[in-house]
Symmetry: C2
Subunit: 292 residues, 2 copies
């Protein structure tokens, strides 16, 4: 966050790490990368000002790759009423590279720090769908259309969070790119508080139900699957509840209280029996278990 | 250029395309990429606000690579009194990737369009050194220290151009990243004018003299070698000349009139005998002849 409420963020996508061409098209990769970058603006309750695309293109297919990425990026931008301002084109000795810079402005930027013990923890939408989709693709299994859609066309919650901020006090927020556990961990660390997530309350992506039969596995993706691009935020007790119905009517997206803030540190999960245990980490592009 | 004179630019560097580890260290690659990105602010006469680094890091060496790139980037930022605001870290399946986003503010941004027939064409510093250095490295020859320094530690001319803009009218400008011929071609196209470069006036990098004996070859690098990161600008006749001495005293860098603007289009070279012939293109990362 700079002078005048200017916010800027950047998100790098690399073929073989963030996407595979046999999983989805380059146009879809462009959409997804751009939507993911714009989601950083949602997390800060910022109004989007513009997008820059930096592309590294393998020789011999630079035009087709660049056009496909741009088509997808433009579509994602259009969904948020924002324009591509410029960027950079370069060669690549191998993977397709797409780095998306987003610019925005926030009069009162929502930050990771700022929540206090007693605050409620809320989230937009559903979690687990993207992580489950990547898992199924990695196992060579087919994807239900709803999960495929969730993976490829995430919806940055920019309008949703700005709408909420106009009506209630939001004390802290983060978008869910690494996974609910990891991202609320960042929020807890920045705010120097303990976050308790209530397993029963989490709104798991219904698209997982047919494809993933074990409820524990669905919960795993809800907590640790990345790239849902929903927003998790905190608010003083009692303020948000009255807005949930109209929010759902306006945006077609649920708003769910999923936990609470207490004094302490770290992220903890409260299970159906009320037992609370610590949670660790989220998605790490470098971890061996979850490397894509 | 956005509301409030906000300018933003992005510059992608990929191992195997823009740098090779056997040519210079990753720290040097970080310096060079960041200085190159900051040079876009010089071209627009913008004051730097901050830098974002997006890095794609090969597995198994992510920490060492990321630290080396950041050390170099920080050093380049320090030379311009600007800070690294944030960025993104990701894996890479192969090449080291470094994408640098720069933010700045310009009250009256210098653009590629705006010069008129009759204007003079000026440049800061020297041209040809970086292109000659890359050529020598590509042939497996050693580099004179001055050329190596020019290649690795380019100086974005941010203070220089802002200093000039405070004192005289600058009508258009561009930084020399693709090569003088190609970059003045962009300027000529944007301004819808003809640019005539005078071969005799070009200030060729003196570091080339010992290593490259053919004067025609030195001129070639001066016109077509990329990544000198000097600034070429235009000004109404007679305004800049009186500043050249004090400019050199203040910045230790020469300021040279290298040509003129006429009605027409394209970039043309006037040789020592006064003959004028068209010049084409600059450095193209995708061309077969000059691919690095």
């Amino acid at each position: 966050v700079l002078d005048g409420g200017l916010v800027v963020s950047v998100d790098l996508s690399v073929e073989g790490v963030h996407f595979r061409r046999d999983w989805f098209s380059l146009e879809e990769a462009g959409y997804r990368a751009t939507a993911g970058a714009l989601s950083d603006l949602a997390a800060m309750a910022a109004e989007p000002l513009g997008v820059l695309l930096s592309m590294g293109l393998p020789r011999g297919e630079k035009d087709t790759v660049s056009q496909a990425l741009q088509r997808g990026a433009r579509e994602a931008c259009r969904s948020q009423g924002v324009q591509i301002l410029g960027g950079d084109l370069s060669g690549s000795p191998g993977p397709v590279i797409l780095d998306v810079t987003v610019l925005g402005r926030a009069d009162s930027p929502l930050l990771r720090r700022g929540c206090r013990p007693g605050d409620e923890v809320w989230m937009t939408g559903w979690v687990g769908g993207s992580g489950a989709a990547v898992h199924l693709l990695g196992e060579g299994r087919g994807l239900p259309e709803t999960l495929r859609e969730r993976l490829i066309h995430p919806s940055p919650r920019i309008r949703e969070i700005r709408w909420l901020q106009d009506r209630v006090t939001l004390t802290a927020g983060i978008d869910l790119s690494d996974g609910l556990a990891g991202d609320t961990g960042h929020l807890a660390a920045a705010s120097e508080v303990k976050v308790i997530l209530e397993a029963e309350k989490l709104l798991l992506d219904p698209g997982m139900e047919d494809a993933i039969h074990d409820p524990a596995e669905r919960l795993h993706f809800g907590l640790r699957g990345g790239e849902d691009y929903e927003v998790c935020f905190t608010a003083p007790p009692g303020e948000v509840h009255a807005l949930t119905e109209v929010f759902r009517e306006v945006f077609g997206v649920p708003l769910t209280r999923i936990g609470r803030v207490e004094a302490g540190n770290g992220v903890h999960l409260q299970d159906r029996d009320g037992l609370v245990s610590p949670l660790f980490g989220g998605f790490d592009h470098f971890s061996d278990e979850e490397q894509r």
